[in-house]
Amino acid sequence: MWMRVFKAVFIYAALLAWSVFALFPLYWMVIASFKDPLAVSQGPTFIPWVDFQPTLSAWKAILFGIERETIRGPLVNSTVIGLGSTILVVLVGAMAAYGLTRFQIQAGPFRNQDLLFWIVSQRIMPPIVTGLALFMMLRVLGLIDTRTGMILVYTAFNLPLAVWLMHNFFQQIPPDIEEAALVDGASRGRVLWHIVLPVSLPGLVATFLFCLVFAWNEFLLALILTFNRARTMPILIAAQHSQRMIEWWSLSAMSLITIAPVVLITLVLQRYLITNVLAGAGR
């Protein structure tokens, strides 16, 4: 009996300890966004109203004030590039995954699994390797520092992930439901669009959100490939290093704006994470 109580206490203590470790940094950023310069520079303070007086000035500046102009362009860019590339990658990825699951491919020595492995293995490519060349390539194409260019780059960046996830989902869909339609003379494209995609909607959503998070957070390629017109939020935040002491309050507020959608997505996604996506990962 004592053993069990002890065990329960231990488990909860451990879980709580890790929760504190996981949450404290986020908490720190949240309260930093409510501090004024003095509260920051006079050493750390931990609890609002107790050891410092929270202020909304950083948030006001960002949402209504002078920083609004600064943040608007990158926020729009991040949204357009994120959504654009994700929609594209889910479509292209779904097509490829469908092709790989429903046809027997024989291109020379290569079969389905070779092709799938080839596509998915592109993911191990470090971005810095292609980044240097993409810089020169987009320059020639006139796509450097454009949203279109970034959408294409991120589509390629996320494609391996999208194909892999969609492949898993499509494999779980029994082919019989398609057969009736095929017998009726529907084309493969129509079958994919009208039957397979609606059936695999949960998987589609999960893939969409995964890819969106990656595109939204990506930094290195954006750093290399954007200058002015297509700068994204991570680039804006990274550029806040200034020669005056870093303005933690406004930096924190900006970062929180960048983080917020992703946190929401995580809360939505976490069920899929376990049940749909990762359950088969290791087997």
Binding site: F135, R139, G142, D145, N228, A238, A239, H241, Q243
Partner: protein, 496 residues
């Protein structure tokens, strides 16, 4: 007949002048309407502030629009260089470091502004100090407008160094009088003496010295400021960077090694974390009263005396960089002992300048915006405004004290401040900052090794040897003969 033709002439002239006048008038109103200029410079506040200050007025006057893009100092060069290699105009103009002139003008990335500047009487080009005229000159042509003057000076706390009690204690400890440091040895001793105790009397720990050690945070120039006195034999050229005969790097000769040993030893006389400081930290920390000494550009004096949060207002002395009682002559390979310190003020960085991209579609508008910042009246406002990061570069900036006082400067800080800057600029042994193509590569190679030495990863000698080897590689890659020609040209030596 003639009167008729005269009448026609008159008519034509009248019409012409009317049309010119109206064109002029409407041009004055909307000379650049519909033009958007993309300006890139470093993060606010410093330097970017100048753009923010003058943009609204310029927009109103010309009908144009300013789109400001900023990058941290450490990435500004990279952003500019990669945009230049694009071949299209990602930016129209830039406020950048004159040290990069070798790359930007040398590769014709910048628009040649010579004719525009020559034709621009209101700019008062001759009022700009010759040193700074020099920084924007490349191959006899002008490629930018100076908007900033830059020289390193040393700042000290008068309340600390002039305190009789501390003077007595200092003398007892070191055996000579405490005074504003004349040599780097004295500088070190003062830093050590004031480090780690409460010499202000506010119950807090205070420190000896503030300098920038951070890689990508201007560490290169801080180190060079120390080295200049050890290696600059008065009247001899080519002491600082390369041997002008062979283009062999000088940076690992005994003079530089001594300077790096000095510099690395200072890390422990500063506040914790000083190894990650850039010049911005030096300014804010000095104004917060952290340390007794600081080495920096003109901004530390400005922030210290004019920032409302500063606790050191009216307590700042400014002096020319300390000297050295021995100087290393690279030609003879020997140290020379001296009785009077060898002083060599270092015109570190050479100032920010405003240049127009060769690829811009709006060269006239871009030049007009640059000159708006550089012209006498506005530039005086800029150098006497907080957080522009711009320091005096015209003779008139030193002549008129009213703006400085309005700015918040108090005596005797102001006289000491302007005096030290002026004395540095006019010093016969003043050393110019390196201006060569590939400057950023040389700088990064050295700064990487400086950072390693400061972190204690390797010895100063090993660090400088490694840097020199790296410099050799860069020189070989860029072409030794070409670099030698450019370097000699820059020094004003005959071609070889």
């Amino acid at each position: 007949m003639w009167y008729r033709s005269r009448g026609v002439c008159f008519l034509i002239i009248t019409l012409l002048s009317i049309s010119l006048l109206t064109a002029g008038a409407s041009g004055q109103q909307k000379r650049f309407s519909g033009v958007t200029l993309t300006v890139i410079t470093q993060n606010p506040p410093y330097i970017a502030k100048a753009v923010q200050m003058f943009a609204p007025e310029w927009e109103k006057r010309t009908g144009g629009k300013i789109n400001l893009v900023t990058a941290p100092f450490g990435e500004l060069y990279s952003k500019l260089m990669s945009s230049f290699t694009l071949g299209t105009a990602a930016y129209d103009l830039s406020l950048f470091a004159s040290a990069w002139m070798g790359d930007f003008a040398g590769n014709k990335y910048l628009l040649d502004l010579t004719d525009r500047i020559k034709a621009d009487k209101d700019l008062k080009w001759e009022d700009i100090l010759p040193t700074y005229q020099q920084t924007v000159t490349w191959g006899g042509r002008l490629y930018a407008l100076p908007i900033d003057g830059d020289v390193h000076t040393v700042y000290y706390r008068r309340d600390a160094l002039e305190n009789p009690k501390y003077k007595a204690q200092f003398k007892a400890k070191y055996g000579y009088d405490l005074r504003p440091p004349q040599t780097w040895k004295e500088y070190r001793d003062i830093a050590e003496f004031f480090n780690g105790w409460d010499w202000v009397g506010d119950g807090k720990k205070h420190y000896g010295v503030l300098e920038a050690f951070k890689r990508g945070g201007q560490a290169f120039w801080f180190f060079m400021s120390h080295a200049a006195a050890y290696v600059s034999v008065p009247g001899q050229k080519g002491n600082m960077f390369f041997d002008p005969d062979t283009m062999k790097p000088q940076i690992n000769n005994p003079g530089f090694v001594k300077a790096l040993e000095d510099w690395v030893a200072l890390v422990k006389f500063g506040p914790p974390g000083m190894i990650n400081f850039d010049s911005g930290d030096v300014r804010s920390q000095f104004a917060a009263g952290t340390a007794a000494l600081a080495l920096d550009w003109g901004d530390t004096g400005i922030v210290g005396d004019t920032d409302p949060k500063s606790v050191v207002k009216g307590k700042i002395g400014t002096i020319v960089l300390p000297g050295s009682l021995e100087v290393y002559n690279y030609k003879t390979g020997k140290w020379t002992k001296l009785t009077k310190p060898n002083v060599a003020p270092y015109l570190a960085f050479g100032g920010w300048v405003c240049g127009v991209m060769a690829t811009t579609k709006h060269p006239d508008a871009a030049y007009d915006f640059c000159r708006t910042i550089a012209e006498p009246k506005n530039s005086y406002i800029a150098v006497t405004t907080a957080e522009t990061g711009l320091n005096p570069f015209r003779a008139s900036h030193f002549a008129d004290l009213s703006g400085w006082k309005k700015f918040g400067f108090v005596e005797p800080d102001l006289s000491s401040y302007l005096g030290a800057i002026k004395a540095s600029l006019s010093h016969p042994n003043a050393q110019l900052d390196l201006k060569l193509p590939g400057q950023a590569r040389y700088l990064d190679a050295l700064e990487t090794q400086l950072a390693r030495a400061a972190a204690g990863e390797i010895s100063p000698k090993a660090a400088l040897d490694a840097a020199a080897a790296e410099w050799e590689k860069i020189t070989n890659e860029l072409g030794r003969d070409k670099m030698r020609r450019l370097y000699r040209e820059w020094l004003g030596l005959p071609a070889k």
